[in-house]
């Protein structure tokens, strides 16, 4: 009886821990590249959001981004709408290095003694230009998320990727093709005549 009771307790603890893990992980803030995968042709731009989800009391942040420098170049990075939702901010776009393939030390902070911002939204918007065909990972690193007490906020990081494709050659539109074929048919008809 006692053995059964102990086994039951152990099983209960095990099950509780197993079922609580996903709950904890789901509530953790996530810093991600959105869309997670995107495509762009050579010479065109693609815009990626750096998003935060499920954050509480976010007061300031900083991150680095990296990409394949032969495939992409960074054109700009600007402040997103999430942090300004909490009041005046001071945004530092960071340093774009298209040789090394990084955007380093992008940061933003609220100003003054107020609380941070809760919820989900966009922290920054990155614009990349396709240089050569291939797929580049878009990775986040050196991430700091701070609450209004300037304590760190833990978060999961989700990288993204961008596939750069060759420029597509123009394909004649159906109407044009039909007209062309019709013209060829008329010519053949006249020749037979």
């Amino acid at each position: 009886m006692n053995r059964l009771r102990v086994a039951g307790i152990i099983a209960g603890v095990f099950l509780a821990s197993v079922f609580s893990l996903p709950t904890f992980a789901d509530s953790m803030p996530t810093l991600s590249i959105d869309p997670a995968s995107s495509s762009v042709s050579v010479g065109s731009n693609v815009t990626l959001d750096v998003n935060i989800a499920n954050v509480t009391d976010l007061y300031a942040f900083q991150f680095d981004l990296s990409f394949a420098p032969g495939l992409l170049s960074a054109a700009s990075i600007v402040e997103g709408s999430f942090l300004p939702g909490g009041g005046a901010t001071f945004f530092i776009p960071g340093t774009i290095d298209n040789v090394g393939g990084t955007v380093a030390s992008t940061a933003d902070t609220l100003l003054g003694p107020g609380p941070g911002v809760d919820g989900s939204g966009t922290l920054a918007i990155l614009t990349l230009t396709g240089l050569a065909p291939g797929t580049s990972a878009i990775d986040l690193s050196n991430v700091f998320l701070l609450d209004s007490n300037l304590n760190p906020i833990d978060a999961r990081l989700q990288s993204g990727s961008v596939t750069v494709s060759s420029p597509t050659t123009p394909v004649p539109e159906p109407n044009t093709f039909v007209l062309l074929m019709a013209g060829v048919g008329v010519l053949i008809f006249l020749r037979r005549k």
Partner: protein, 406 residues
């Protein structure tokens, strides 16, 4: 912008001689750029009105009683209310007629202590009986026959160098005059040169506490330590003996309103002087911070004084109060007290406020590490060797509500 415009006085020439009542005609040229208006001025003579058109020519009348080399210069008004000034020349104002006699304005000068300096005026007398002070004339020359007792420089400034008598001579052309200068007595502590060391010397020394010795032989520096301070007073009291009044000893107490305060916040320094005798201490207390005189406070009826200091920089400061004594109470120095001035959190430029300028300093070094070009140690608020969002937010958090920075 004021660069690009230049003025020059083209007339009179440097060193031109004038006399009182004469008119100095001054012409000015603009040697570079454009000016809106020009005026001229001369030391002890005055300024002209502004002229707005070239050629610029002015007339200045030399006032009476004016003698010696005088600076002459032109001022140009340029855009944005800025001014430019020409190179300065000298004009020499001398008597219009040759004097018939010259004389010192004193026949005897007595020096109290080695290092004491004095200047005695020289008067010229003319044939019509009129006189004028020619002490600043470029035509007069001074000399001493015994410079080891009293020396004199070309401007007539005499310096006491030792005991004895010296003859000081002034010459103007062929005219000369002589004055006797008596050097300080060899009696140590006899600062007024009357041959004895008494309370007069004591009071004289007390009035000079804190002065800088004129040299290694300054008689006021009785103990020869390079300072004129309370220790010299004590040495003089020993020399004075019964000739000096018996001064009551005093004790100076000093306190600071706080031993730690934020930058730019007031610190009140208070001193109380307690005398051992029946005469209430009077006079003042000098507040000395880190060896430098900060301020002087006069004692009130309760023998207290205080000053308020707001300008001390970040750091720990050592403060003493020095009571300089009076005719019945001896000087005394307080025990030192320390006050620490701490930086305001987020005030990285230490100007006493947290504002966008502080944020800008952090931004200027953002992402930099110690040793890298562009790293400003002030921006590394948390002193972890790198300027990042931890530093940025530490400043941002301290900004007043409603602040916006770009």
């Amino acid at each position: 912008m004021t660069c690009g415009q230049q003025l020059a006085i083209t007339s009179p020439s440097n060193g031109a001689v004038y006399s009182a009542g004469q008119i100095v005609t001054v012409t000015v040229s603009v040697t570079s750029g454009q000016v809106l208006a020009v005026q001229v001025g001369a030391q002890d003579i005055g300024f002209s009105a502004y002229q707005t058109t070239s050629p610029y020519s002015f007339s200045l009348t030399v006032p009476t009683e004016t003698i010696g080399l005088k600076n002459l210069f032109a001022v140009g008004l340029v855009a944005n209310e800025a001014v430019i000034v020409s190179p300065v020349i000298n004009i020499d104002v001398e008597p219009g007629a040759a004097p018939t006699a010259i004389s010192f304005q004193q026949s005897l000068v007595t020096f109290g202590y080695v290092g004491q300096q004095r200047r005695i005026g020289v008067t010229a007398t003319f044939a019509d009986g009129s006189t004028i002070d020619v002490s600043q004339s470029s035509q007069i020359q001074f000399s001493s026959d015994t410079p080891t007792v009293v020396s004199v420089d070309p401007t007539g400034l005499m310096s006491a160098n030792g005991s004895g008598t010296a003859n000081i001579t002034v010459s103007y052309g062929n005219l000369t005059a002589t004055m006797k200068a008596i050097g300080p007595t060899a009696v140590k502590g006899d600062l007024n040169g009357d041959g004895v060391v008494n309370s007069d010397d004591l009071f004289l020394l007390e009035s000079m506490l804190g002065s800088t010795p004129t040299g290694p032989n300054d008689s006021r520096d009785i103990n020869g330590d390079g300072k004129i301070d309370i220790l010299d007073v004590q040495a003089l009291l020993t020399l004075c003996g019964a000739s000096c009044p018996t001064l009551s000893s005093t004790t100076t107490g000093l306190s600071a309103s706080t031993n730690q305060v934020q930058l730019a916040k007031p610190v009140t320094l208070s001193a109380t002087v307690t005398g051992s005798g029946s005469n209430t201490p009077t006079g003042s207390v000098s507040f000395v911070v880190d060896g430098q005189l900060e301020d002087i406070g006069a004692l009130n009826a309760l023998n207290q004084t205080s000053i308020v200091v707001t300008s001390l920089p970040v750091g720990t400061h050592t403060i003493v109060g020095i009571y300089t004594g009076d005719s019945a109470n001896s000087p005394s120095t307080s025990q030192s007290v320390s006050t620490q001035i701490v930086a305001i959190p987020g005030d990285v430029n230490s100007d006493g406020v947290v504002d966008c300028a502080d944020l800008a300093i952090v931004k200027g070094s953002f992402g930099k590490k110690t040793g890298q070009p562009g790293f400003d140690p002030r921006a590394d608020v948390n002193k972890d060797g790198v300027v990042n969002v931890l530093d940025l937010s530490a400043v941002a958090r301290q900004l007043p509500p409603g602040t916006t920075c770009h």
